[in-house]
């Protein structure tokens, strides 16, 4: 059983990218995608990238790293999540109508709303 737990814990974050890419890189790429830790490719939908580009001034396109990570940490309490990074928090804040300063703490209904708006450009991170 412990072997399974360790395996599961190791498997929880395999969907995360080896390297995140900036919004500018994603917009300029013909097939915007990132390579994940398990070697597969995760694609971003262009319409999402375009809606993100409208939420941020062009000077910040290099700063916004994709996918935006929604960190689920049991220490925050069940259902709470954190979005780190200034441009990432700002974008999520604009979508959710919340004020964000460097980091954004969101709760389950807000996580659902954010995932609904950005299904391919957000990913869960288990801490």
């Amino acid at each position: 059983m412990e072997r399974i737990i360790k395996l599961e814990l190791g498997r929880l974050n395999v969907h995360l990218p080896e390297r995140r890419i900036s919004l500018r890189e994603a917009l300029s790429s013909p097939k915007p995608s990132v390579r994940t830790r398990d070697g597969s490719t995760h694609f971003f939908k262009r319409e999402e990238l375009e809606s993100l580009s409208k939420l941020l001034p062009e000077t910040d396109w290099d700063k916004l790293q994709l996918p935006i990570l929604i960190a689920l940490d049991p220490k925050l309490g069940r259902g709470a999540a954190r979005i780190s990074g200034e441009p990432e928090a700002r974008v999520a804040g604009k979508i959710l109508n919340k004020r964000a300063a460097g980091e954004l703490l969101i709760y389950r209904p807000e996580v659902a709303a954010l995932r609904r708006e950005l299904p391919t450009t957000t990913q869960y991170l288990f801490m």
Partner: protein, 212 residues
Amino acid sequence: MAAALAVSPTRMELMKLRKRVGLAQRGHDLLKEKMDALVMEFFEVLRRIQDSRAKALEQLSKAHRALSNCFAVMGTLETMQAARETKRELQLEISTRFIMGITVPAVEVGEVERNAVARGYSLHMTSSELDEASREFERALKLLVELAELEASAFAIAKELEKTKRRVNALEYILIPRLRGALKFIMMRLDEMERENFTRLKRIKAILEERG
């Protein structure tokens, strides 16, 4: 409880067990977070399936109505002949996206609606009703591809959800209580041994005082 885990009541074993409980608890918390997130994703996909299915059904009924008109105007055999001549190709881009390690299909459909020339049937032998019916079916096809993508996603999420729930339950109701039981057993046994030792020492002291 302790017999099930076959533990010996030593301090070393106590420390090891505490570590195991910590790991199991952490695994349980994280898997529960994953389960919550999966439930959320699942309901979101279900909501989209409902919308998508309603749209697809409405479009299909429109398409069938247009096809009935076409049968009436052109005749069944002629319509079937035109259908056989039609080019059957669709530009699809199938890739994957990930929801917490689950691979779900992401299908991007190219332009489905074609003009009458691109469809491939003879233009002077067919009526505009056929064009109308074809257009309605092409629209329906796009909606059906979207629906298929969503249903495949729901299926994959449901499978993963079932697996995760089984693991969370195994941790919550079997492993963690068993480990806690063993922990309690060792602590009680160690306390008992300490009390025995204390009593023994007191007894020895009393005997030595009697002799002295």
